[in-house]
């Protein structure tokens, strides 16, 4: 009897030992950061799904002619933006309407695209996939192409336990990869964490003080965006006539407002602004000190001139460069899948 009891105990023990250990990956939320906006309960991260998402991100199969991938306009080394192109170009060399945004810390994003047309990270990828200037494909056809691929059926099996490809699974996998793109290890972060031997130089420190005074109301730490829509005083470009947020809400009070972009890795992501009109940070700083175009929806933060001399501008730029996170930009986990 006693023996049988021990045998059962042993079996229970072995049973527990054979259970898959719970090692679901989680994204790192640094101390003092807000809680991510993304609801991970609805799409719990797991390694196989993240890997599937990475494959999809780098695979031109998402485009109509199998030539354009997400990475075409979102290169890791340039902070997941399309460097050197004011307006990003897509399929058949068609030119888009805006500058592709940096992909970073998306788990904290509330609303996506320059005008907030996309309301959730899970449906973000639909926009470039179906835009006729970008990938010009249909999500239903992407699903057919993936379902026809033995390799992808295997990857979906690994991620979801069966090999059925659906729009939901495809998009949730892409989300999983995007959610892992977390940048929290720039020099700025290390200084804030008071890491040993790391401190701002004199000009970076001076730039940080000026930044907090003039820029931080919109580019709020630690994400360096308040996630809101603002008119930052850019003169409308008559070749584009982009009204920004108003195109989505139809409210005139939203005219010429665009989402405040994060400044993380800003050094690596020129050109700047929704239409990529500024080639470098000097031009951006000149805009804020000398080039504000007044209009009824201009951000209240910009109604008074920001007076910065050349030396001060240099300091602000020195500070902005401390937001570059080389580890993030070089991390092989985010790169082209081997």
């Amino acid at each position: 009897m006693i023996h049988r009891f021990y045998l059962i105990l042993l079996l229970i023990f072995v049973g527990f030992a054979m259970m898959k250990p719970d090692k679901n990956p989680v994204i790192h939320v640094p101390k003092g950061w807000p809680k991510p906006t993304y609801d991970f309960k609805k799409n719990p991260l797991n390694e196989a799904t993240i890997e599937l998402g990475r494959q999809l991100f780098y695979d031109p199969v998402l485009s109509r002619n199998d030539q354009v991938s997400c990475a075409s306009c979102h290169l890791q080394q340039t902070a997941f933006t399309h460097i050197d192109h004011a307006l990003s170009h897509g399929i058949d060399d068609r030119i888009g309407n805006r500058n592709s945004p940096a992909l970073v810390n998306l788990a904290w994003g509330k609303i996506f695209m320059w005008d907030g047309a996309v309301n959730h990270l899970d449906v973000q990828a639909l926009a470039p996939i179906e835009n006729h200037l970008e990938m010009d494909e249909k999500i239903a056809n992407v699903v057919l192409k993936l379902q026809a691929s033995k390799t992808y059926r295997g990857r979906f099996f690994n991620a979801f336990g069966d090999s059925t490809v659906t729009g939901e699974r495809t998009l949730k996998s892409i989300s999983q990869f995007l959610l892992t793109l977390v940048s929290t290890n720039s020099k700025y972060d290390q200084v804030m964490r008071k890491e040993k031997g790391i401190q701002f130089s004199e000009s970076e420190q001076k730039g940080y003080v000026l930044f907090k005074k003039h820029c931080a109301a919109c580019h709020t730490e630690p994400l360096f965006t308040n996630g809101l829509f603002e008119n930052n005083g850019l003169k409308p470009d008559s070749t584009l006539n982009d009204i920004g947020r108003m195109g989505v809400t139809h409210r005139s009070s939203d005219s010429l407002k665009f989402k405040v972009p994060t400044l993380r890795n800003i050094e690596r992501s020129p050109p700047y602004m929704h239409d990529g009109r500024f080639r470098n940070l000097q031009m951006v700083l000149f805009h804020y000190s000398n080039g504000i175009h007044a209009s009824p929806t201009l951000s209240p933060q910009l109604k008074n001139t920001i007076a910065l001399n050349e030396q001060e501008k240099g300091c602000v730029i020195a500070f902005l460069k401390t937001l570059t996170d080389t580890e993030f930009l070089m991390n092989p986990k985010y790169g082209y899948p081997k």
Binding site: H120, T166, E168, H250
Partner: protein
């Protein structure tokens, strides 16, 4: 077991004192299967006047002519009422009705037996909470052709076809009605008499009523949220009826 029942009774009392009696009590009772369950269904039948809708066929409606190429819409939040009180609400209630797949016309329910009701209520389209909740599967999968990629949100109701008066290319028309953001929410609620037993019964979706409201000469297409989508969506509750 006895203790369990006592706890249950205490819970009921608590709920009654909360004043949320009806709906919670129903939920509680059905969850415990105190009453037997039954499977039944309701069919939604798209018609053009007296004829069942067949895609790509030409119909005369009053003094006009129409051909329907695409017809798809969402039904959501289906519930049944008796004397104004909800007697059964379908949970996770989202259904795509698609004329290309007539099997989608029939909606199956699993509910307590011997329900009686005199009205049915449902939404035409998708509620705003679901519109902002990310990507969904099943009937709500974005591959169903009922999701706007360029500006997040579901298309509640999609009708495409041909009418000689249309000023668009090839005299075609396209109405994609949707939008969840205030003040341009195009979601409409239908509540109509439905005095039936739980048997297979049907609700008529009278497309002629909708077609008569169209002005394909002046407005042959609506394909984005806004005032025009909201205005035309107001017609939708009038196209449903039970015999």
């Amino acid at each position: 077991m006895c203790c369990f029942l006592r706890k249950g009774a205490a819970k009921i009392k608590l709920l009654i004192s909360d004043g949320k009696t009806t709906s919670l009590l129903i939920g509680f009772l059905s969850a415990f299967s105190l009453t037997a369950q039954t499977d039944w269904s309701v069919s939604f039948k798209p018609m053009i006047e007296q004829q069942p809708l067949v895609l790509n066929q030409i119909y005369a409606v009053k003094n006009d002519t129409f051909r329907i190429d695409v017809f798809r819409f969402y039904l959501s939040g289906i519930s049944f009422l008796k004397q104004g009180e909800t007697v059964f609400s379908e949970s996770n209630s989202y259904h795509l009705i698609d004329a290309e797949d007539t099997a989608s016309y029939r909606i199956a329910f699993h509910s307590p037996k011997n329900l009686t009701f005199d009205e049915i209520q449902f939404n035409v389209g998708i509620d705003s909470a679901t519109n902002v909740a990310g990507v969904m599967g099943g009937d709500l999968d974005p591959t169903k052709g009922m999701y706007w990629s360029w500006q997040s949100g579901y298309i509640n109701f999609k009708l495409e076809g041909w009418n000689p008066k249309s000023t668009a290319r090839k005299h075609e028309f396209q109405y994609h009605l949707g939008g969840y953001m205030v003040p341009y929410s195009a979601l409409t609620t239908v509540r109509i008499p439905f005095d039936k037993e739980q048997s297979t019964d049907s609700i008529t979706v009278q497309l002629a009523t909708f077609l008569e409201q169209l002005n394909t000469a002046e407005l042959p297409a609506i394909m984005s949220p806004g005032e025009r989508a909201v205005t035309l969506s107001q017609v939708l509750p009038t196209i449903f009826s039970s015999k």
